[in-house]
Subunit: 345 residues, 2 copies
DNA sequence: GTTAGCACTCAAAACATGTGAGTGCTAACA
DNA sequence: TGTTAGCACTCACATGTTTTGAGTGCTAAC
């Protein structure tokens, strides 16, 4: 059987209708549309064919049709309209984006927030772990019982942690430890450092400071480990409460589990293809089989530094959402091109 | 009418039963209990009296009794058992607490996590902005274009920020700035400092470093402002999904709104009395009228530096929860006391 | 004062019925 | 030959009815 024009038109209408209403779509409803002027009976025949071809399903005999994952895929690839955002929408987005640009490292997080506000879906942002080479390491005195550990990366990123120590120390000791740490680990990437037995190395190089080391090293290791973590921000979770597909608590819980199981979820996100990617239903991992996921990257000087996207029901306004995501990432990329030039001075 | 012993015993049984079952408690159920050996009819008479006195309510004529807020209050104040935690429970808690003590500023956050795990409720931690006196201020070199600002409070809390500077600096300059800043602001509370014209003071005391100051001070001010924010951590939100009172989505959403409206919620928390405080139902603000809130403080050297607690249904295991909170805060306080003693030597 | 007994209440479960949006099929039509 | 009207059929859902059972309140007897 072949997907002729009329079948495509009907399929498109079913998907579009279902996206709007979240209700199975019947033949009579479709026959009332302006762009379809055949009788319900004809539509039924076509829908029956479409079902046979795997594009539609039937919750039960006397219900309307619901799009299958295959139908959504076809819809996204071929059928849906690619409307440009209106100038007003663009202005709104740009204005929202501008409100969060003071703090450099919050930019992505903020962009994800804007994304959720514009789409009324759950949005997220993830910073993939990059080649994070250490430049130097510094232990600094704070007070009798704590020190600050400062790790500077070659990228310029600085990581600070306050560490509690349970033995007295002198400033010289700290300087010594800083020197040893920097000497041993400077130029290495964080994950390489973590493969080593850090405690042993400190004890070897600073036998006289064994007590200090045992007090400080665990915090040091923990900080390094944390630097490896990809950061995952989730925004707009409350949007699920408004969607009809989440009117029972179990579903709400499922989404909550997905977005709070950060390790697993960020893994999923990091492993995606580059660019604007839409995955629907069973194209995702099993726990996401009832959802659609849309992601896009943003880059600084051509290097991918973050990814953001939305998680929502398969019944999603794909055209709007992709437009918004695309506009936001384009904007971010542009911002950073300019910033990048300023930095180079 | 008087609350005689039998009435108290029955009331206690009703509350305890309802806390366990979340179902209205009937007279027959109570009559089966070992500690009550009067007939259902007698119990009914007593319950009828208790209802008249405002301790019990009746969802409908043919249903069992449900405790009123007044009953919960009496239960917490007088009726409930104050069981000690078992040694095993204590061990579990202490072990969990120990897993998160390397990073000083995460201690409270971690404790709140432990609290939610032990109680299966939503827990939170808040660092009130009260009495946040600065101990000293330190500008540290990172690389050519950035320095780290480290602010240490008397409470031991450390705040770090990377600040970008757009003029060359020497280590001596930074030391000078650190000294001036510490001299000027040490012992003052953050909000007091912010009322002053910080830029002018730097320029007055360090006229030779005007360029540096103008580059660094905005970041300094911003960091101070951020220190005024109370931090609110919420843990264990997913526990609400398991509670029968939250089986419809609206309720789940209510809790979500409460704990994510961080400004408002932290205001509520900060404004509470000190010590172990239990508020139930209409003792809370209207949006919390269906919940009970338990908080306790933790102190460093006798000074309150954080508050943590749980949010749950009024039907809460008050005895267990208060025991756990008390044990956790005692532990935190102790940890910090010991450190204080070590410090003194 | 306590309790057995009984009539009464009412939510919730179980069952029955009607409604309507939908289908699939067939036969007639253009 | 594709399209459509017509009709029997299906089935979720809403509505109405009945049954059940846990609970109460009252009264009279112990």
């Amino acid at each position: 059987m072949e997907l002729n024009d009329r079948k495509l038109k009907i399929l498109q209408a079913v998907v579009a209708d279902f996206i709007n209403s979240a209700e199975p779509v019947g033949s009579r409803t479709l026959s009332k549309r302006d762009d379809i002027d055949v009788s319900p009976a004809t539509i039924r025949n076509e829908m029956s064919d479409l079902e046979e071809m795997g594009y539609l399903t039937h919750p039960h005999t006397s219900a309307g049709r619901v799009p299958s994952d295959k139908a959504y895929r076809l819809y996204v690839d071929e059928l849906m309209s690619h409307s440009e955002l209106s100038p007003e929408e663009k202005d709104v987005i740009r204005e929202k984006l501008d409100q969060g640009t003071e703090e450099l490292d919050k930019t992505l997080e903020h962009a994800s927030k804007v994304l959720s506000e514009m789409t009324n879906l759950v949005s997220f942002a993830v910073t993939p772990k990059v080649e994070n080479k250490i430049k130097y390491i510094n232990f600094l005195p704070v007070d009798e019982s704590s020190v600050v550990l400062m790790i500077v990366c070659e990228s310029g990123r600085v990581s600070n942690t306050a560490i509690r120590v349970n033995c007295p120390y002198t400033e010289e000791n700290l300087t010594l430890m800083s020197k040893v740490a920097t000497h041993n680990y400077s130029g290495m990437s964080v994950d390489t450092i973590l493969t080593q037995d850090i405690m042993e190395e400190f004890e070897r190089d600073l036998p006289q400071l064994a007590a200090m080391s045992s007090s400080v090293v665990p915090g040091f290791v923990k900080t390094l480990e944390k630097m490896l973590d990809v950061d995952l921000y989730v925004n707009g979770y409350k949007n699920v409460f408004a969607l009809p597909e989440f009117k029972d608590v179990e579903k709400v819980k499922d989404v909550y589990d997905i977005v709070t199981n950060k390790d697993q979820f960020s893994q999923v996100l990091v492993n995606r293809d580059n660019g604007l990617v839409v995955t629907i239903g069973d194209e995702n991992s099993p726990d996401l089989k009832d959802f659609a996921l849309i992601t896009a990257d943003y880059k600084v000087n051509g290097k991918m530094v973050g990814r953001l996207g939305v998680l929502g029901p398969k019944r999603m306004k794909y055209d709007e959402v992709t437009s918004v995501i695309k506009y936001i990432t384009d904007n971010l990329n542009q911002t950073f091109e300019i910033e990048g030039e300023v930095d180079d001075e």
